[in-house]
Structure formats: C-alpha cells, structure tokens
C-alpha cells in the first residue's frame, strides 16, 4: 500500500510543516539560492550536451553549416563543466542544508534547555541526543533528498521530455509514457522483497539460536555421544535458512533486473522512434543520435527517484517529534522580570504545596522564613522534601499553591536568568563538561577575568592543583571530570558559585567520603561560603550543622521542627536534641 504512493506522506507532511521549514530555510536563503542556481546550471549543462552533439554530427555529415572543431571543443567544455558544476552544487547543497539543520538543532536545544526541570526529569540526555541528532538529521537528509529527487532529478526528467517533444511529438509522447510507467512499476516493485527478507532473517535467527545453545554445552554433547545428531540438526537448519535466503535474494534480484531491463526498453524506444522519424526524413542522423543519448539519460534520474522515495516517507515521523518538542511549553512561565538588590536576601516559603506530580504533593502547606544573612540547616530523611525546598528557591519548579519569595518578591515574577546572579547552588553531583577548566568554572562566560578565577582557586586551596595543569585554565577536562578526585570536583563546584558571588546560597552537602586533606579544604570552603550570605544547607554531617544559625526538620513534606539551633540543642524535648545525642551520620540516624 505504502509503495503505491511514495510521495503522499512526505509531500503532505512537508506542506503541513512548511512554517517550520521556512523558519530555518530563511537564514540560509542566499546559500539556498546559490544552491538552486548551481543545480539549475548543472541541469542546463546536462541537457545541453546532447544538443551540441547533434549539431556536431550534422555538421560532420555536411547536413548543417558550422565549425566542426569548435563544436567538438564546445561539447568537451560542456562535459567538463558538468563535472565541475556537479561538485559545486553538491557542495553548496550540503552547506545550506547542514547550516539550516544545525541552526534548528541549536534552537531546539535552547528551547528545551529553557523548559522546566519536569521536562528534563522525563527526558534522558540519550533521548535528547536522539531528537537533536537523529530526528533533525533525518529531516536534513529528507531536505537533501527533496532537493535531489524532486528538484534536480524531477526537473532533469521534465527537461529531457520537453526537449524530446521539441524534436517530435511521437518521441516525446512515447518516452514520457515510458518514464511514467517505469516510475510506477519500480516504485511498486521496491518493496516486494521486504517480507521475504523478514522470513529469511527469522530462519537465520533460528539457525544461530540452535547453534548458540549447542556451543554453550559442548561438553555435554560430547559426553552423550550426540555429535552426529547435532551436526545433522545443524544441516537441517542450514537448509531451511538457505531456502528462505534464496527466495528473498531472487525477489531482490527481480527488482534490480526489472530496472535494468526497463532502461534497455527505454533506450530501445528511443532507437525505434529515431529510426522511424529518420526514415520519414523528419529528423537528421544527429537528431536520432541525440534522441538515443537522451533516452539513455533517463535511467539515472528514474533510479534516483525510486531509491530515495523511501527517505521521503521516513522524515514525517521525525518532523512530528521535532514539532512536539518545539511546541512544549515550560511549566515555569516567564514573569515580567525581577530586580533584586545585591547582597544577602531574605527567603520565604508561604503556605507552599508542591508535588512533581500535582496528584502527589511532596510538600504540604510549608511555611518557612529566613532573614537576610542567616543560615538554615535543613534536616530530614531522603525523599521527604529537603531537596525540593531547595529547588523551589531556585525556581526550577513553581509551587502549585502558595508562593516562594526572595527579598520579599514572588519568584513567579522572574524571567530566565534573573535568579542566577543572586542564587548559587552547590549540589552533590558535580557535573563537568568536556571543555576547558575556564569554561567549566565560568559556564562558558569569556568576560570573567582570569585573575578573578585564579583568586578564587587560590582561596579554595586549589592553587597547587591549578599549577599542575599542563595548559593552565585552557586545560581540557574530560566529560564527567575524569582525572579529578571527587573532592577536587566538589571544590570546582564551590569555585563556580564563588565566581558569581550570590546573596543566597543553597548547599546540598556532599555525603561522599573524600581524603582528609580535601575534606579540610571543603570544610573551609563551606565556612567561607556561609559568611555574609543567606544560606540554606541540606546537612548530612553534625560538623556542618554546628555552623548554621537555625534548624528546620522536614518530615513527610512538612516542617515538623523549626527554631534557633542553640535553643533546640538545649531543649531536651526537641528532635534536634535527640539527634545530637545519638550522633554520627545524620542520614543514618534519622532513617
């Protein structure tokens, strides 16, 4: 069914998504124009060379006036130019298409990066690579095919037919009919072998499935004396696989040979028509030769169209997926903009209810306030809402009910990037890019002066590490931070925050054990981070908790205890007091 209308799906799909395509074609329109011009020049040359050959032959036979050598030279020049223009148009086509698709990739990546974290939680990086490279790539090759198939080859066919009509209506009609019928037949034949190959692969799978089981148990087979039996069965499976493969190969062969045979028929049609008209004295010998030449030229474009018709269908699914991504809206909408004063900020959660899935709230009616410059330790078991509170402060999500405020302003007013200058976050997982140390620390911001970076590294105790780098800040880090210790990676995350110097920091304290020397550096980094800033620390260690001003204990999505650290520590009835008494790792104690 599909085979009978190969252009159907692709053509309507293209039409439906023309806005999407136009958006990316526009920026490269001059290149695209150049590409079209070069393709047209190539077509013109291809169509012109048989005409030159016709005059050449007629002049040579004295049936037309003209300079024979000049015509021969012209034919040679056209043939050589044809090659040059084929190279140039191929190069220009690729350039225009790749530029347009890379722009689409980049726009799509930018769009998706701007979506809320809920989107990122449900789309793996692997899936995003598949969308950006696989689907956009499929669209790119679709565009290439479109240019080659519909554009170049379709026009070439039309051009040849038009010129043949110019010779005589009989030649034009017969070869136009030939083109039409062979396209119809070949597009139908294209898929006849497919089901046979499926059956053949099935038989192969059975053969090698059998073999795999025997190979896994060679010792038993030997012990049981079953070798001749196994070899016999192997032969039975081989025979079956052979018969299925033979049928599939023959079906493929029919498709292939039908094409070869058809093209011979096309050439013969040209020969018949040429002979008939020549005998009627309607055309010269040169024209008869030209008709033959054009008839042989029909094979190439017909073949290209039947081969590439498949790709025209495949892109539709990709276009649909790309459009779905492009139409996804962020659930954290842009506000009018939020200007905050520099320096420590107050933090407030006002009757906040939030769930990643609204049906299952993680936080229920949580209210929590923190004055500027104060530090708060968040304690609680994993999965009870500590990290969620931190994410709401960063506006990675919006609460379903209530409001989150910084410096007294509702975060819903903020636009993308407003908070980055004011809020910093150090998470447990430090993710590094495969990029230079500088780009990793500044997040690709070239405006940060090197002295500032070096100052921060020295302050964090990374001076020695920095001096060990072969190319200083330009040293490339590998993806995932290979070659760095866990502690060093953690310190680089601190450096990222210090470089931005935000008024509020959120610290998800690392639980991983690092060597004592680095641990000392991290503790000092934490100390400096909390100085003169509002801070929320998701604490995993008593040592860290000892530094904060206030404590909040979160359990089951609610704040169950809240107060000054020292007051709670003194109150024997408090949960915090009990925690301190038991001691050790806070996570383990609370579990």
């Amino acid at each position: 069914m599909e085979a009978s209308r190969p252009f159907g799906a692709g053509a309507t799909g293209l039409f439906r998504y023309r806005h999407l395509l136009w958006r990316y074609a526009r920026p490269v329109r001059w290149r695209a124009a150049l590409m079209v011009a070069l393709v047209l020049v190539g077509l013109g040359l291809q169509l012109a060379s048989p005409q030159v050959l016709r005059y050449f032959i007629d002049v040579a036979r004295g049936q037309a006036p003209g300079n024979l050598l000049a015509l021969a030279a012209l034919f040679f020049a056209v043939a050589a130019l044809e090659q040059v223009s084929a190279v140039a148009s191929g190069y220009a086509t690729r350039g225009a298409v790749v530029r347009a698709t890379n722009r689409m990739r980049s726009d799509l990546a930018r769009h998706c990066l701007g979506l809320d974290m809920g989107f990122h939680d449900s789309h793996t990086p692997g899936e995003m690579i598949q969308r950006l490279d696989g689907d956009v790539g499929a669209l790119a090759s679709f565009l290439m095919q479109l240019v080659i198939v519909v554009g170049a080859n379709g026009l070439l066919l039309l051009g040849i037919i038009a010129l043949l009509f110019g010779v005589h209506w009989l030649v034009g009609t017969s070869l136009a009919l030939f083109v039409f019928l062979s396209l119809l037949l070949l597009l139908r034949l294209r898929f006849i072998a497919v089901p046979h190959w499926v059956v053949s692969e099935q038989a192969e799978a059975e053969l090698y499935g059998y073999l795999e089981e025997r190979l896994a148990g060679t010792r038993d087979i030997r012990a049981l004396g079953a070798v001749p039996y196994v070899v016999r069965r192997f032969h039975v499976f081989l025979g079956n696989a052979y018969r299925k493969a033979l049928r599939a190969s023959v079906m493929s062969g029919i498709t292939y040979n039908a094409a070869t045979l058809l093209f011979a028929v096309g050439t013969a049609v040209g020969l018949f028509a040429g002979a008939w008209l020549y005998h009627q004295r309607e055309i010269t010998l040169g024209t008869a030769f030209m008709v033959f030449y054009y008839a042989t030229m029909l094979a190439g474009p017909i073949q290209m169209i039947t081969i590439h018709a498949e790709h025209l269908q495949n892109a539709t699914a990709s276009i649909v997926r790309i459009r779905q991504l492009a139409e996804t809206r962020s659930r954290v909408p842009e506000g009018p903009g939020l200007e905050l004063a520099p320096g420590p900020l107050s933090v407030e959660l006002d009757h906040v209810t939030f769930g990643y899935d609204p049906e299952h709230p993680v936080l229920r009616d949580v209210s929590l306030g923190l004055e500027p410059g104060r530090t708060l330790g968040l304690l609680g078991r994993t999965g009870h809402g500590k990290t969620t509170i931190a994410r709401l402060e960063m506006r990675l999500y919006d609460p379903q009910e209530g409001a989150v405020r910084l410096g007294g302003r509702d975060l819903r007013q903020s636009r993308e990037g407003d908070l980055a200058r004011h809020v910093g976050m150090v998470t447990q997982n430090v993710q590094l890019f495969r990029a230079s140390v500088r780009d990793n620390l500044t997040f690709f911001d070239p405006s940060v002066p090197d002295e500032k970076i070096l100052g921060v590294l020295e302050d964090l105790g990374l001076g020695r590490w920095y001096r060990s780098l072969p190319s200083g800040l330009d040293t490339a880090l590998s993806s995932g931070g290979g070659g760095l210790s866990a502690g060093e990676a953690q310190l680089l995350a601190f450096a990222r925050v210090f470089l931005r110097d935000p008024g509020l920091v959120i610290l998800d304290e690392p639980t991983s054990r690092v060597d004592p020397a680095t641990e000392g550096l991290i503790e000092r980094a934490v100390e400096r981070l909390l100085e003169g800033r509002t801070a929320i620390v998701i604490a995993h260690r008593l040592a860290t908790v000892a530094r904060v001003d206030e404590i909040a204990i979160v359990e089951g999505g609610r704040v169950v205890e809240r107060g000054e650290r020292e007051a709670l520590a003194r109150d024997p009835a408090s949960r915090f007091h009990r925690l301190l008494r038991v001691g050790g790792d806070l996570d383990e104690v609370m579990a």
Binding site: F75, V98, C112, L113, R219, V227, V250, A288
Partner: protein
C-alpha cells in the same frame, strides 16, 4: 570434500581453493554466467548500437535493419536479466554451501575437541565465527569471479575499439585510466577526512548529552545562552569538516563514476576530422560512448577483490583459533 583448516601452515588461498573445489561445477558455471552478464552483454549492446547507427546513416548497407537491431538491443537486456537472476541463485547457493561446509567442519572440530576443553572465546564470539567469518570466505570466493568477468570485457572492448581507431582509443582511454588512478590514490586520504568528521560529530553529540545531563546546574547558573553558544561552535566545527569531506567525495565521484561523458567529450574532440572524412562513423561514436562508460566501473573491482582477500585472511585465522 574437506576444507581442512587445522594445520597452521596452509595459507588462506589454499583454504579458499579447497572451498571452491567442494563444488567445482557450480563455481565454474557461475563464472560462465558472470562473464555472460557482465562482459558479453555490454559488449554485444555496444556492437548492436554501432550497427544501428551505421545502418541508419547508410554506412553499412548490408545486415540487419534498424528495427531488428533495436529489438535485438532489448533482447540482449532480457538475456542479461535472465543470466543475472541465474547468477543470484548460484551466488546464494554457492555462498550458503561454503558456509555450510566451513560451519560443519568447525562444529565437528569444536565438539570433538580432545579432553574437556571449553571454547576459547565467548559463545557470542564463536557464533560470529560461524555466521560472519564463514560468509567472508564465501564472499571472497565469489568476488574472485568478478575478475574473470571484467578480464573478459576489458580486452575484448579495447580490441573492438582499437580495430575501429587506434588513435581515438588511446587518446580517450589513457586519460580515463590516468584520472581514475589519481582518484584511487586520492581516495586513500578519505579515511582521514572521515575520522575528522567523526571526531567533530561525537564532540557535538557528546556535548548535547552533557548539556541535558547538567540542565539543572546550567539553569541555576543562568548559563543557557552561553552553553548553547558553545554548542553552536561545536556544530560549526562539525559542519566545516563535514563539508570538506563532502567536497572531497564529490570530486572523487566526478573523477571516477561520472567520467563517461567526459570521456565521450575527449572522443568527440579527437575523432572530429575522422568523422567528417567518414573513417569514424556515428555508429563508432555510439560504441565508444557505451564502452567508455563501462570501463571505468571495472577498475574498482580489482581493488574490491584485494580488500576482500584481506578480510578473508582475518576470518580464516579467527576460525582456526576457535578450533
């Protein structure tokens, strides 16, 4: 009867010969079919075209008329289609027979191994010996057939052309081979271009993965635009190397597969005065046009055979190791 793989002294070509010797008649008849399909048919087509135009122009007054010749042209193509289908049946049969022979010998060797020795490699790898490596040896065995097929066409076509005109043949064929040789030499460089493209591509793809694996940190740092800016740079580098590779490929293509019209151009240039004097007919021109287009294709085959032999050597070594 037996393709004995065990003694390590037997070279790969002997193994291939033994495999071929297992069904010599099948192999020989496939060779005949190949020669018919790929040498005789194109040679005859050229002759028919020449006769057609000579008949039309009145340069040959005897022989078949133009209609019969046009019908003969289709007849040759029909015969070619039939032999080509026969070739496919023989290829599959021959390939599968060789696979079966090698596979059975290997299976017996593995099962009857003295002592309780297990397979020297994983089951999956052993399976690949049975499936892929046996196919490689079979593949080489019938790649080898392409050589006689082209070895028949090349001299016959050249002889036909030389009999028509030594000068035109030499002047059109020599540059064809020269350009073709340069293209072949240059094509060795394509590996470097491909590798550069692959590296740039995996850098860009890898970075996409990193970006979406680090989305939270990027959003917190407000670095969305800068990160995408870096991605754009990686994409641009990828595009540049890819386009360079494409240019190289297009040039190679123009220099090898599309040489037919170029060679016709040379023929026309050289034969101009001979055509006027009538010593080089329009029929000769048609013959040269068809043969020159086919000759280019045959040279690649020799290279493929060499590559296929290397592959077969690796496969035979692997199968020995399994046993």
């Amino acid at each position: 009867m037996s393709a004995d793989l065990t003694p390590r002294t037997i070279p790969t070509w002997r193994v291939v010969l033994q495999v071929i010797g297992y069904r010599p008649w099948l192999y020989a008849s496939k060779a005949v079919v190949e020669v018919l399909t790929f040498s005789v048919a194109p040679w005859l087509s050229g002759l028919v075209l020449k006769a057609y135009f000579d008949r039309l122009s009145g340069q040959a007054s005897a022989g078949l008329n133009a209609w019969t010749l046009a019908a003969l042209f289709v007849g040759i193509a029909l015969g070619q289609a039939v032999t080509s289908l026969g070739d496919i049946v023989m290829s599959t049969t021959l390939g599968r027979t060789m696979q079966a022979l090698l596979g059975r010998n290997m299976l017996e060797g593995v099962l009857e191994k003295p002592g309780a020795r297990a397979l020297p490699e994983s089951t999956g790898e052993a399976l690949s010996r049975f499936r892929d490596d046996t196919a490689e040896v079979g593949n080489f065995a019938y790649m080898l057939l392409a050589v006689p097929a082209s070895l028949v066409f090349l001299p016959v076509a050249l002889a036909t052309m030389l009999r028509i005109s030594v000068l035109v043949t030499l002047v059109s064929v020599v540059p064809l081979f020269a350009i073709f040789g340069v293209a072949r030499l240059a094509s060795r460089r394509i590996g470097g271009y491909r590798e550069a493209t692959r590296v740039a591509e995996s850098r860009a793809q890898g970075f996409v993965g990193e970006v979406f694996g680090t989305a939270q940190a990027i959003k917190v740092a407000g670095a969305e635009d800068r990160v995408i800016g870096h991605l754009d740079e990686l994409y641009e580098r990828w595009r540049a190397v890819r386009q360079r590779e494409a240019l190289f490929e297009h040039v190679l293509e123009a220099m090898s597969f599309n040489l037919g019209s170029f060679a016709t151009g040379v023929t026309v240039l050289v034969a101009a005065s001979a055509i006027r004097s009538g010593s080089f007919t329009v029929g000769d021109l048609a013959l040269f046009t068809t043969y020159l287009g086919s000759i280019a294709g045959f040279v690649t085959i020799v290279e493929q055979v060499v590559a296929s032999y290397r592959q077969a050597e690796v496969s035979v070594e692997r199968m020995r190791h399994l046993m």
